[in-house]
């Protein structure tokens, strides 16, 4: 029996369970969506996070409800990791009245204010400055909280990223940029979008952010990194941060299918990443470093997640669509 490695000291049984719970929840939710998608009841562009569960899971145990987060078109995992209500998310994807955005937003516009998840945007780069503005508010509020901005490697190419980070650094805002670099923007590899020797983390560093790089598929490592950074922000006012996490999406950019047949990426690459499945890696880590962890707990968690998901989909399907007259409401908060 090996002794758990250094990192494990931060991780008690509950945290390990929570990490697994969130990864499994994201994975199984997304797989269920993939299963249901071809039935044409889900009728909106939908971007799955299968393969990318590590980073959101790690974040799920370091943030609290008074922390903010914003995300992108690929936002399901982030919504869930922030504690967003599952039933409302699934209902939203189905366009139902009970959806988290009343059916107005769909998969690309998720929100759960109760847990500080302040919305996702379908426009690349659009939510980045919004997240910085939330950080500005936190700073003005003088509370010890953080605003977390999820973004992809593609969003790095938008001027809004650069302008936003510049301002966050200028004002030393409690903001953390979580960049999930999955190597692609739609079907475009980094090579057609960013210079050969580009190192995204270094770039962020030269703009002035504190930076860190981590393997996003290693959830324990990601947790360790995020936990120490969040506490640096909250207790030492060291900020803002930009963390680059390497990871990979398994399925097509938008939709439910595998698309390695298209040829924009190689099967080898895909297989290599599949071997680095964050969930499998975690299970292996458990066995290797946390010998006293009772593995049977995992099955219980999986069962719990599965039944949560069953409920969410059942409810969502049964729920009614909003009245069509609702479409004409809430254009203004203060109608004149």
């Amino acid at each position: 029996m090996k002794e758990p490695k250094k990192k494990s000291k931060f991780l008690d049984n509950q945290k390990l369970k929570d990490l697994f719970y969130m990864m499994k929840k994201i994975r199984l939710v997304e797989e269920r969506i993939a299963l249901e998608y071809p039935k044409n009841e889900i009728r909106c562009p939908t971007h799955l996070s299968i393969g990318q569960e590590g980073v959101p899971a790690a974040l799920s145990i370091v943030l609290n409800n008074a922390d903010y987060a914003v995300s992108t078109h690929r936002g399901h995992a982030h919504y869930l990791s922030k504690g967003g209500n599952l039933n409302k998310m699934i209902a939203e994807i189905y366009g139902k009245k009970s959806g988290c955005s009343g059916g107005k937003g769909g998969s690309m516009h998720l929100i759960d204010k109760d847990v500080g998840f302040m919305g996702t945007s379908a426009i690349v780069g659009n939510s980045i400055p919004v997240g910085v503005g939330l950080g500005l508010a936190l700073k003005l509020n003088k509370t010890k909280n953080v605003s977390c901005i999820f973004l992809g490697d593609g969003a790095i190419e938008e001027g809004s990223f650069y302008e936003s980070l510049n301002f966050a650094v200028l004002k030393e805002l409690p903001v953390i940029f979580i960049c999930e670099n999955n190597l692609y923007s739609v079907y475009s590899p980094l090579s057609v979008r960013q210079p050969k020797n580009r190192n995204i983390m270094d770039l962020a560093n030269s703009i002035g952010a504190h930076t860190y790089y981590a393997d996003g598929n290693d959830v324990i490592n990601s947790y360790t990194c995020l936990d120490s950074i969040i506490s640096k922000i909250k207790s030492e006012d060291i900020c803002p941060w930009f963390i680059e996490f390497e990871t990979y999406r398994w399925r097509e950019h938008c939709g439910y299918q595998f698309d390695n047949d298209l040829g924009y990426r190689s099967v080898e690459e895909y297989e290599k990443w599949k071997k680095r499945d964050p969930i499998t890696l975690f299970e292996n880590n458990l066995k290797e470093y946390f010998a006293d962890f009772d593995l049977s707990q995992l099955d219980q968690i999986t069962d719990k997640v599965t039944s949560e998901i069953d409920v969410a989909f059942e409810k969502a399907k049964k729920d009614t669509y909003p009245e069509k007259t609702e479409a004409f409401k809430n254009i203004y908060s203060n109608e004149i």
Partner: protein, 353 residues
């Protein structure tokens, strides 16, 4: 001269190919321009034929990529840039409005900016508030820009070729609901002039002025109206800036009634402009108040439930025409098939959106 039945997408692709063949100063880029899907198929094969210097994918940098296109254009390159959604192009309004639109003017004619910006617009199937905007009236409001909105495959090809070789910046708006439509398209290079409308059906009772996808709905309406003996002039604008007023006026002289259809929201729309000009200059021709059917002044919701009856379709046109002609149209409307699902142009439609 061969005529083929091809899709709107194929027609666009053909125009791109022809332009690049006949002029090696034509370049073509945009997010996904060289990926396996080739921007809904429209750019398929271009990179193979013309090389990755003239056809390329780009960073997600809409603003700079527009300015870069302008720079290449003033250096003599006929630049074609494409955005998979008009909404993404909102990031580039400075380059478009403070740059492209004004350069010819502010440098007193010394620069020309032969850039064509293809913008895909749409509606339906959960596109929601930020993937469905039809902002033609924004572009029309800006002096120096031309705005083209084809409604058929044949027009798409001929108008795109004219746009590419026009020396001024042209916004070329392709409606996603038209992409898979099929029509007769001539082989080879032909040009349809910008700024000229097309009278597609002839009738003495009422003038419908329309654009882009709404012309498809107008045609459906017209066929039903024909059944009860109502004959409609449908004027497909082709260009919404400049607007071919003489074509509209000629029709109005006969019909005395005008209904304008617009794919965009109502306030300060192309429809507003047409109706106000008619009211100002030609109210003597009107024997009824003018009318318009547009999208409501509402962001487009995502849910299938919320979009039910959200999009103006043929039955609404029929209803309005009957109202304007003061005839009983309800039976006719009852006869019209209910299109289901309501959020796609037809059930033949397969995404991606």
């Amino acid at each position: 001269m061969k005529i083929n039945n091809i899709t709107f997408v194929e027609a666009i692709n053909s125009a791109l190919q022809i332009s690049m063949e006949i002029d090696n100063k034509v370049i073509c880029y945009g997010l996904g321009a060289t990926d396996p899907k080739g921007i809904f198929g429209t750019t398929i094969g271009l990179e193979e034929k013309f090389g990755n210097e003239r056809v390329f994918d780009t960073p997600t940098s809409e603003n700079a990529m527009t300015g870069i296109g302008i720079g290449a254009a003033i250096a003599g390159y006929k630049t074609i840039m494409t955005h998979q959604r008009l909404d993404f192009f909102l990031l580039a309004m400075d380059q478009l409005v403070n740059g492209a639109a004004k350069m010819h003017y502010m440098f007193d004619g010394q620069l020309t900016v032969p850039i064509t910006i293809r913008l895909i617009i749409g509606r339906g199937w959960g596109q929601g508030p930020t993937h469905s905007q039809n902002l033609q009236s924004w572009f029309a409001h800006i002096p120096g820009l031309k705005v083209v909105m084809p409604s058929t495959p044949s027009d798409a090809k001929g108008l795109l070729l004219s746009s590419i070789f026009d020396p001024d910046p042209v916004l070329f708006l392709e409606h996603r609901w038209l992409h898979n439509s099929i029509g007769e398209v001539r082989d080879g290079d032909y040009r349809i002039p910008l700024g000229k409308a097309n009278l597609i059906t002839k009738g003495n009772d009422l003038t419908i002025v329309s654009m882009s996808y709404m012309t498809v709905e107008a045609l459906i309406a017209q066929k039903y109206l024909e059944k009860i003996g109502i004959a409609i002039d449908i004027i497909d604008l082709r260009s919404v800036k400049p607007i071919d007023f003489s074509c509209i006026i000629n029709s109005l002289r006969v019909t005395g009634k005008i209904l304008v259809l617009d794919t965009g929201v109502s306030t300060c729309s192309i429809a507003s402009e047409i109706i106000s000009q008619i009211a100002i200059n030609h109210s003597n021709l009107l024997d009824r108040p003018p009318s318009r059917i547009t999208m409501p002044d509402v962001p487009e919701p995502t849910s299938y439930g919320l979009t039910k009856d959200f999009y103006p379709r043929a039955n609404q046109i029929v209803e309005r025409v009957c109202e304007m002609l003061r005839i009983e149209g309800s039976k006719l409307i009852d006869e019209m098939p209910v299109i289901s699902p309501h959020d796609v142009p037809g059930d033949w439609f397969k995404g991606p959106f």
